[in-house]
Symmetry: C2
Subunit: 326 residues, 2 copies
């Protein structure tokens, strides 16, 4: 069992406080995708829920713990999905939720955060600026700061996906996981290494936001000056040391993919699987497209982790990809 | 308990032979849709599975029964979804599957039937022509004819959706069900009337293919000379008397909707729920759009029953609907 910060028994226990709407998500073979990809592909679909991403698995745990001590306030920085999920989990438990986001974050995500009655503070700069501002608010107001990937509950929530994958009756060889801050990768990776150690755990990050992948390969924290990718959900620049330590224990590889491959992946999921997904959710398909030989004849699970897009941006992106007939 | 051809205990038992990939599908509140619709809306999503429709719930039961008696042959007529589902269920059990479809059926559905190794026979004419041809093949070859909605297993399969709705911890007022041959409506309707009789069961059919709805209102079989709708999955003209008898016992109402409303419904699901759906799956949203006062303040579940579309047709359709900003 990998000696990460995570514990499988605690993950199983945490699962009990998560609203069932976020659990036992579809896992299914998608043969229509396979001729284009050259391998067997199954989809773990994390978008058919009230917040259209996996993030509520973690915020349900966080909000449940906070609510146990009466009405509380909590603040987080978010590219949008964590904030939406925290707003959802907090609203139903009477928590006072503040989300800090970049002014350049995806508008559709910001709209949903507002609609869920959270306080939304926008900052100039990118997600790293939002992280600093959220920390400053927490210090100023003496309230709980939720830090994605650093807070163990965000990893435990994501890890419940791993429990569902490990329980699958259909054997598979590889799981492809979008890599940003690392909660999803370390969470799912921990459980796979514990319960299904023969399964290959591969992280995928955009070439334009490669900080965590560079860190994993160099086995030390590597930061970047900028993050340029349409995959807004994984566009961090400052990896968290404790998360990197865990990732080093559970990931078998970390791949970088080009923007054109992310877009091609979104298009494939659209044309052949009938799925609208956000760019981060297409990283797995992008990795297969760029590494056909590596995955040939294997059975790969890709976690479709979110579908919150500005719909006009989405259609502009996929219009630039090869069509479904090619 | 309604005295239909269905039996809730038998439905529970039948559930055991259905591949888990088709069961316990997502059921979730979709608040982003609600400002446009004026009521609380939950989605029961039947598209995130290997055949992208609910039809495999029934074909799993059919194929399982057939396979119990050794390798068998089976033929069905289909607008596409039943055929795809039967091909999937039959392939894994070594059955010899023939699907008869109209030459004008949705190409994407026919492609998937072929890809799943079924024999596909195309006929000139519409779905009713295909039904006659399938019956002739069954007589000629002495093989099992699967007739959608008439064969009780197709209704029992659909009825397992009702079990999941009745088990929901979230109370709701109304379920909106696409009405074609009637398997989905009688199946789900039977279970709701048995286990949650306070829930309103409303069927929705296109104005351009109204045979079953006219039959329900007139309490006798009414056929039509033509069926003109983009909702190919529900475009029958000859209601089956036994199915109508059941529908009369379990449906509280049957509504007809215009093609423009179906398209508007598809567009709403696309823009606000991030879902690509086929026209039949948008009938429920179309009904809300045409009857806002009736559903105002109610909590409505709509069964999103399929997502198999020709993607170019789909985009041509939704391009004609009002945009998400209006």
């Amino acid at each position: 069992m990998p000696q990460t910060r995570l514990d499988t028994a605690r993950i199983r226990a945490a699962r009990q406080v998560i609203d069932p709407a976020f659990l036992d998500t579809p896992l299914y073979r998608c043969e229509a995708l396979e001729p284009a990809l050259g391998c067997a592909v199954s989809i773990k679909l994390e978008t058919a829920n009230p917040v259209r991403s996996f993030k509520a698995r973690g915020t349900e745990i966080v909000a449940s713990l906070l609510a146990d001590h009466g009405p509380q306030a909590v603040v987080c920085a978010s590219a949008g999905n964590l904030g939406q999920a925290l707003a959802w989990s907090g609203r139903r438990r009477g928590l006072d939720v503040t989300v800090v986001a970049s002014r350049h974050a995806t508008a559709a995500k910001l709209d949903r955060i507002r609609a869920l009655d959270a306080r939304l503070e926008l900052v100039d700069g990118d997600h790293e600026t939002a992280r600093k501002r959220a920390a400053a608010i927490a210090r100023r107001d003496g309230i709980r700061l939720l830090e994605d990937s650093l807070d163990i509950q965000t990893c435990e929530g994501a890890a419940t996906i791993g429990l569902e994958l490990a329980d699958s009756t259909t054997p598979f060889d590889t799981v492809l996981i979008a890599l940003g801050g690392g909660a999803l990768a370390t969470g799912v990776g921990h459980v796979m290494k514990d319960l299904a150690p023969e399964t290959e755990v591969i992280c995928v990050q955009p070439l334009g936001a490669p900080a965590m992948t560079h860190s994993w390969h160099q086995r030390r924290v590597v930061t970047t000056d900028s993050a340029r990718t349409i995959a807004d959900g994984v566009a961090g620049r400052y990896p968290i040391p404790a998360v990197l330590d865990d990732l080093l224990l559970v990931a078998d590889d970390a791949l970088l993919v080009q923007e054109t491959s992310i877009i091609a992946g979104m298009r494939k999921l659209h044309d052949h699987a009938g799925l609208i997904v956000e760019p981060s959710a297409a990283l797995g398909i992008a990795a297969i497209l760029e590494n056909r030989d590596r995955f040939a004849e294997r059975h790969v699970v890709t976690i479709v982790c979110g579908s919150n897009v500005n719909i006009d941006d989405y259609h502009r992106w996929i219009a630039t990809a090869p069509t479904h007939t090619s």
